[in-house]
Amino acid sequence: MSEATLPRRPAWLAGRATGPRLARHTLTLVALAVLLLPLADLSVVTRDPWTELGRMLQGLAWPDFAGVESPFRALGLTVSVALWGTLAGVVLGFPLALVFTRSRLVRAGCAFVRAIHELFWALLFLQVFGLSALTALAALAIPYAGIFAKVFAEILEQTPRAPADALPPGVGRLSRFLYAELPLAWTQLAAYTRYRFECGLRASVLLGFVGLPTLGFQLETAFREGRYPEAGALLWCFYLLIATLPWWSHRRLVPLLIIGGAFLLGPWPAVDGGLLWRFVSQDLWPAPLLAGDWAGLVEWFASIPDLGPAIGNTLLLALLGTVGALLVAMALWPLASRHFGNPASRLAGRGLLILLRSTPELMLAFVFLLLLGPSLLPAWLALALHNGALIAFLAARHADALEPGMPGLPASGRLAYELLPRIYPSLLALLYYRAEVILRETAILGMLGIATLGYYIDENFQYLMFDVAAFLLLVTAGLNIAVDSLSRRLRPREAPLEDPCLR
């Protein structure tokens, strides 16, 4: 904003170098959010949230582990679903990655499957495979295949060309790939798969919210019914699972986990072809369309909720969430970085980041709902904190891999001269990737009565009106694809993504 009114830009905002450009970029983004803020419903209504919040804190402080029904099975299943879902995603996504840059069809398909939230995939597969591991695996594997295809393709594209150029003439395509391309990308591919697995764990918990027997199943019920000691116990289990991830997901343990997990996933449902066919050929389509009744189809369209405000709310919440996540990430990443503070403060910082990024947004949103009353605000805060903490975690990890060129600078100098200039471009790039995720996540905050697209999708699934749900899913996917391509166009070109996990 200030750019337009000032006759001359201040020196630090002028010029074409990376720093000022990114600063201008950020300011524009923030200005846009501030400008649109009046459109958002941000009223604060607070009366007496403290009794309920007190109960929650008490539950978290004195968790009731005995109250949880078979916690180990739930934990095991959460891990198995994440592991097998990720594995299946790799198996499906890797071949797609090889043709990704060449085939427009594959790119479009991947963008489409990515655009739909795991929970909605689960709701779709639930209709066919019932409450089984197959539903859970498919709900993870399909969107992940799309994500893997895209990211793997980008990694493979960025491998150094020199070794392949050094090969003698006449080497076959496959041999060249095996010797001079795959090994070069291997570390990055593995690192990304590992990161996706952590995302898979969170998604696996979320799948419990629609009824698959992972940790989320009991977590959601206990939280919803106000049994906070039980919810606290389950949350602690999950925090510990995420905090100890680097140890138990050691390379040598993974095969054991995979095999062990396979036994937890069964029994497998007998897939009923008739059900599948009925769902695909009838349930998903508007009845008037199948009957060829055009007047009926017009009526069907009229019965669909008003899409304008829903899309507006979705986009507004996504934009605010994205900008909020940027601010949260900027504030939080130094807390967890080895370049700042002392061991105790870093431990606390890391703990906070685990807490924020592992608590499902829905729960964060509910806490803020109690505190601030029903409006867009709780949803915004929940999205900003959850995603901001995730970005902060990755940024801190990125910073930890850097070695300051000038040791002995004071903390502020280290931040401003050494670390921020190197981290900020990728932090911003990550934010743009994350915007797509945030847009998807606005969908699951319908509980707050904010009529986003996801709110209506959820509603129609509950009323078993799959045709409307499917139509709205298509609209959502289209919106996601549009926002994704827009954010890719707007994303500052300088932003390098050396760390594949920043995607």
Binding site: A17, P163, P168, L184, P421, S426, P496
Partner: protein
């Protein structure tokens, strides 16, 4: 050192050819001749077009030339053995190559072992190249070129990161196994003492194309503009460095 034998048949001749990458011409109207059995040192300042010339030779010689690229072009994640094996990757089927990654094939393993012993890499064959020192990587890259077993050796600074004694030994090994060699170098003394002929590039043209025996170090010095500047002490092009404008300040980014 063997005397120059210009009577040998021509392996390759360029006659007024424009060399470069894409539409950008680096070496316009280049003419030269490479005879079988000739050992050629390629000299010139950085950016003079040495790599461009070598790439052109490589493209024209095809399967008769073994190639040792600048900065080695090794795969850090793979073991020394696999990197050397890549020299003959085209000779086996994809399936055999795949299996060789899981379990080294017996024949190639034996051959590569022999080469590695010659190059002082014994005991490192199973170590990923990423964990080697600069000199060890250099030798691995040479081993890969030797393993190709070709008639001509083309090397882009193959002895840049080893000490002078080792450089001599490595050049000896290369010559032992290749009748014809073209090697880009920085060491002028080595060029005069160890090669039959010197090609010197400067400002996009072949400034020197003469038998090594007919050249002196001073002749070679003329290829390097900085050497000229420091020796004459006058006529320096760049004035004292002005304070860079803020726009020119690069923003450091990425990993250190």
């Amino acid at each position: 050192m063997a005397p120059t034998e210009h009577t040998h048949e021509t392996l390759l001749a360029l006659d007024g050819v424009d060399l470069g990458h894409g539409s950008q011409v680096v070496l316009p109207g280049l003419s030269l001749r490479l005879a079988r059995g000739e050992r050629i040192a390629l000299l010139g300042p950085s950016g003079a077009g040495k790599s461009t010339l070598l790439a052109a030779l490589r493209a024209r010689l095809g399967a008769t030339a073994a190639w040792c690229p600048q900065h080695h072009g090794l795969v850090p994640g793979l073991a020394v053995y696999h990197n050397v094996y890549m020299g003959r990757l085209a000779e086996r089927s994809a399936l055999a190559n795949l299996w060789n990654l899981v379990r080294p094939l017996r024949g190639p393993w034996r051959e590569v072992t022999e080469l590695c012993e010659l190059l002082g890499l014994e005991g490192l064959m199973r170590r990923p190249v990423g964990q080697l020192s600069g000199g060890q990587r250099q030798r691995t890259a040479i081993a890969r070129a030797l393993y190709q077993g070709r008639e001509v050796f083309l090397g882009d600074e193959p002895v840049a990161s080893v000490d002078p004694h080792q450089a001599l030994r490595l050049l000896g090994l290369i010559e032992e196994r290749h009748a014809t060699t073209v090697v880009a170098l920085h060491q002028r003394e080595l060029a005069l003492s160890h090669f039959d002929r010197v090609w010197g590039l400067r400002d996009g043209r072949l400034a020197i194309d003469a038998p090594a025996s007919a050249l002196s170090l001073a002749d070679l010095d003329a290829l390097y503009p900085d050497a000229e500047a420091t020796s004459s002490g006058t006529d320096r092009h760049d004035a004292e460095p002005a304070a860079p404008s803020p726009e020119a300040l690069p923003c450091s980014r990425g990993r250190a």
